[in-house]
Symmetry: D2
Subunit: 399 residues, 4 copies
């Protein structure tokens, strides 16, 4: 008979408060990290902002006692045992390398790096260390996604045949929308794919246990010129009325991918940051030879399960009704909706249990650096396929 | 102030009962044709079954006074002014040719023919006649699809950028499921694409007013061997317990298509007849530079309209709230749900108004033979693309 | 192995076309009757309008060959074997009496009469005849409501405890909305209750097999003065711009009912014709000791089935998945949505099978005159309860 | 241009970490309090469990440094400035009195007390103090409920006429389900009403700004005997297999309420803890003379807005689209779902801003002790109405 408090007790063990964490990045997602760590009882000892001033503002707002001036200073703080990297993508590689070199655990936001060469190097470095290393693909930790993972391993869906869905947003719809992710040199040459598409690929690969072997990609930049404001802009914030500069955009507003999987399954995903009215809509459907399942990130506490020969089902997130993986990721009773922030809570709970145990569990549910590297290889193939207009393999020696 | 009776009066004019129709095919869809015609007040003078016996059984069950033994007999009946063709696909071409030659109007189920050579010939024959010729793409006539068409022409969505969705069924999930459509020589080399995929392409092309110029296709046959029962099987019926023969299947269970449109828009559609729990789920989403819209055939009286800068909308089918096209296709007050059968009623209402007027209106909402031929050209390109693994143009001289 | 055509054949038997029907009333709902009869293959021999002119207009528009000038003339037509009564409520009693006296079967729109004295008399007259007599509570014949009925009889829900829901519309929201139903002398002293509330009570009583024994009612007239247009107004049509007269309104815009059932179950229903955005939303939820179920008339092809100890279910209307009652009422394959008009088709199919057989089946699914009388008794109790502000029994000698 | 970090900064001001909080109660809801406080950066200095042992277990699991043995000890801790009371209902009154007497701010779970005499006394004590005193009606702080509140004050709905909905759960469906709330002496004579019904009444009163003046109630206990396990049971946990004792139950499984509001509006709510499949489903619909709105706690990021004369709307929780109140309660960008735990975060953010400022704001959004007392008066009237079977006023001198 599981109870909520019991779940928490088992997940963390004694003394989460004794683990000291620092967070790089103080934007929207950095704040989510800090709050989830706090909720978990982790001691957030300090933050590192894009400037000392911004770090200090954030530290004060969040009630964090310390803002570091540099990563060196952060890493010289003996209270810090683990570092969360939520800086712009272009900084991930160097920062993670430095963190690993200083023998700290690391949780890095996706994408892990800007190139697959970099991610390959980090995989090697991580393998040589005894550190916990994770990439922050949080959507795996919506409890019903964990449940779906176990449905597949227990053969409830049968052979997986078709994986389809979308990841759609609208925050970059207008040419007045601006963010550093639009610039290839800061966010990488793939934008919609790198920013949200890899979430979808990681999640569906995780649930099905299947890797993509070939990809066919069609990339489009519909808004070819955008108005860049003078001054900084927060992610997901709206356009102001200040001065702007016209900027050519080369990164993808939309990406249409077809996928071939190692077992013969096929996939299709539509990725878009210019779909009006879709705020942050990630949907997947997985069709097997027995049954199917479907999930929507904007109604995350409901899992649709499709059947040919009996009524379809709607499973609500409820520890009493889910399988063991699903129940382990849940924190609240059924009907008391868990959302985006709760997925970080569940993810960090598993990561910090490993930190607390001093080593990674044999099959961690969270994404490893190898998983993060795999997403970089998929991105490479996406770019090549879009250029060539044909299927491109993710060659075995790369995977 | 529109009222329902007024709508009917305007649509039909005087004397629909004076038009005599005959229906070829007495299966599920033939029955839907007969009933929609009856509801409209059309005189269904006779049916032609796959055998005289089956035709007579159907005539008795449906209360139709006459079953013809052959198409010749049917066409020698002076009471017949228009013929509906709902026979298996392989017979469409010859039957339609014969009907046109006897100077009768014709409504042909999709696909128009088995090959684009045949459909090209029918387009020519139709052009030379003064007859009403239509292909039965009924989904255009769900009133909210008509409304969506006018939204596009009135620029409510802005420039069309992304067209995505699916058409999924599950009635061919198991290897014990059987239907003549599985056999390439009876249904054509493309099955899921031909049977349901062309519905999606026709509908979204109609709404957006955009033609596909290139296609990238991935076809899969997951159930490579099926058990064919001995004896006839109705479409959408379930497997019995009788004797079966193992048969190799080459037609597509699923098809993943990427699409390029003439204006630079991009599209993606997932077509499947093996998606557990999806009974007949056709969904489209059209994203423009201003707003987006989305529709689901299993909840056809609701249209989702997406906005970036204000609340999204759910427009219910309601003549008082829809634009002129939407209102014209509606028969019942808002909240009194219209479904599949009602879409035939609305479609036939428009076709028979033209029949009654003796000539096609300048921009008919129903699909012409040219539209049916275009779908055949798309199918040709889908086959070639799937073989070649790359984008294939629908060459201008073909379109 | 049921097929659609088989269903039709079994339901009607041979020769539906030989039954002649006439329809009184040519408004929205009269048109629905005519079309459903036509679809069924019934011979609609004539209509009777509120005036000969309106009748002739409707006959022409609908392609009906004859418009009668009076009910006498109608009943002197030997081709008429059954009459559908869709005139305003105030005329039902006298018309039905006259129809029964002329030995014709009758299908009467709800409410059966204006008073329970009248309905009691009609019950007696019907009992003395050998005629098929039905009240047109069509919502019973949405196939999933038939399915729900059988779920209850097969104890899938356990003991019925709680019956709740609403019936909400918005077509009388504004003081410029007008219809004869607003006037107590034409529609009866209860408007929202009589017009839509009795649909809900009839449906839930039918599904559960339980009668209401006591009622607690709260009636409100929020729009106390309305603008009556000069000239006729169609039901569900919208206000025009013509001349109007201010009229005091005494009938109920909303009614809140609490219900006690014979087995100890309890009920609550909200009835409203002034709920903005609810076009024609009828919802019920039935909670039993084992499981629950819920249905929404605006998404009628989906039935929610609630469970405590396993995932909830969404059953789509699909003859292959429903029980025998559900399957018998279905006409189209799963996923091909059936709507409001289809419920009339299914209802009339059952009524006309009885007409064809010459006698009512032992437990007809359609509402009898006794059922219609029972609704009048409930209405009586609602009026008394609202006046007294306390629970009122439906006394046994009345039921 | 609002950003998330800005929202946080403004809400808290400097130094939330300097406020020390203690939490009484370590069950499901106590854990939610602790985590929300942590996320906000509040220093949770200790917990008080039902026994020292349980308190110490919880403290260790949650990473809280201290478990108190008694409330006296807790209140002697100078680090504690505010106390959250989440103990069983029967202890609220004495504990809150003691906390106020020791000059600490207090956040008390609902219901505030067991009787209205007690709650009246607490209102007086709170008024005499300069302390922040709040009752934990957290559902007000789902951002879309805050948005709805402002919609009403800005007359977007017009005159409020009809308030309807339900609060349904299924965790007490079976006779093997047990919890202290079932016992009248521990939870109070009203169970479903007190536990969840008052949430609904508080929320709809808050949104509409309207008080209930009279109530008509029907209470039912369907499960008259339950099996009480030997040993403690957590709320929302499921039955085990241990030894049990049969216990008579007198508290309400379901309650049906009709409501009259001060402005003439009417209300109806169905409250049930035995509705199979409804895990924690709170729904309200508010119909005005202009527009209507509806919300569902199990899909809390979507607000339905109903219109008569234009398309209905679905407003997603999105600070860029909501009004000022809605935006102020939001923490995450649109589409990144907020759930149950987030509502506590938003509620506590407002309470602690007042704590930080040293006084309550002029119109706090959170429920005051007066609001909590009002709910007790409603409960009194519910009990009397259910006994008498008629409407009962909430007399002005009591309100």
């Amino acid at each position: 008979m599981l109870t909520e408090v019991t779940l928490l007790r088992e997940a963390i063990g004694s003394g989460p408060g004794s683990i000291g964490a620092a967070v790089i990045g103080t934007g929207f997602i950095g704040t989510v990290h800090v709050q989830a760590l706090r909720r978990l009882g982790i001691n957030v000892v300090g933050v590192l902002g894009s400037s000392l001033q911004r770090g200090e503002q954030a530290a004060q707002a969040l009630g964090v006692s310390r803002a570091y001036d540099t990563l060196d200073t952060l890493l010289s703080d003996p209270a810090v045992q683990i570092v969360h990297v939520t800086s712009p993508n272009q900084f991930h590689f160097e920062q993670v390398k430095q963190i690993l070199a200083s023998d700290r655990h690391v949780v890095c936001e996706k994408p892990l790096t800007m190139t697959s060469q970099e991610s390959a190097e980090l995989v090697e470095l991580a393998a040589k260390s005894n550190l916990i290393t994770a990439v922050n693909y949080n959507t795996r930790f919506y409890p019903l996604n964990q449940h779906a993972r176990q449905m597949v391993t227990e053969d409830e869906l049968g052979d997986i045949r078709l994986i389809s869905g979308h990841y759609m947003q609208d925050w970059l719809l207008f040419d007045t929308d601006w963010n550093w992710r639009l610039e290839a040199d800061k966010g990488g040459p793939l934008r919609a794919v790198g920013d949200i598409g890899t979430h979808w690929i990681d999640l569906t690969s995780y649930i099905t246990g299947l890797k993509v072997t070939s990809v066919m990609a069609e990339l489009s930049t519909f808004v070819k010129t955008r108005q860049q404001p003078v001054g900084p802009v927060e992610t997901f914030s709206q356009a102001g009325s200040g001065e702007t500069i016209a900027r050519k955009i080369t990164t993808d507003d939309t990406a249409l991918l077809l996928l071939r999987y190692e077992n013969g399954a096929r996939g299709s995903v539509v990725i878009s940051q210019v779909s009006p009215g879709r705020k942050n809509s990630m949907q997947w459907q997985i069709d097997g030879s027995k049954s199917g399942a479907s999930w929507d990130s904007e109604i995350p506490d409901h899992l649709w399960i499709g059947h040919r020969d009996r009524a379809n089902q709607i499973l609500q997130r409820d520890a009493a009704l889910m399988n063991a993986r699903g129940a382990a990721a849940a924190a609240l009773p059924g009907g008391h909706v868990e959302g985006f922030a709760d997925s970080f809570f569940a993810l960090f709970r598993e990561i910090y249990a490993d930190v607390s145990n001093g080593k990674a569990s044999s099959h961690p549910g969270y994404a490893s650096f190898a998983d993060g590297h795999y997403e970089m290889l998929v991105c490479d193939a996406v770019l090549r396929s879009a250029e060539q207009g044909c299927w491109v393999d993710i060659s075995p020696n790369q995977r």
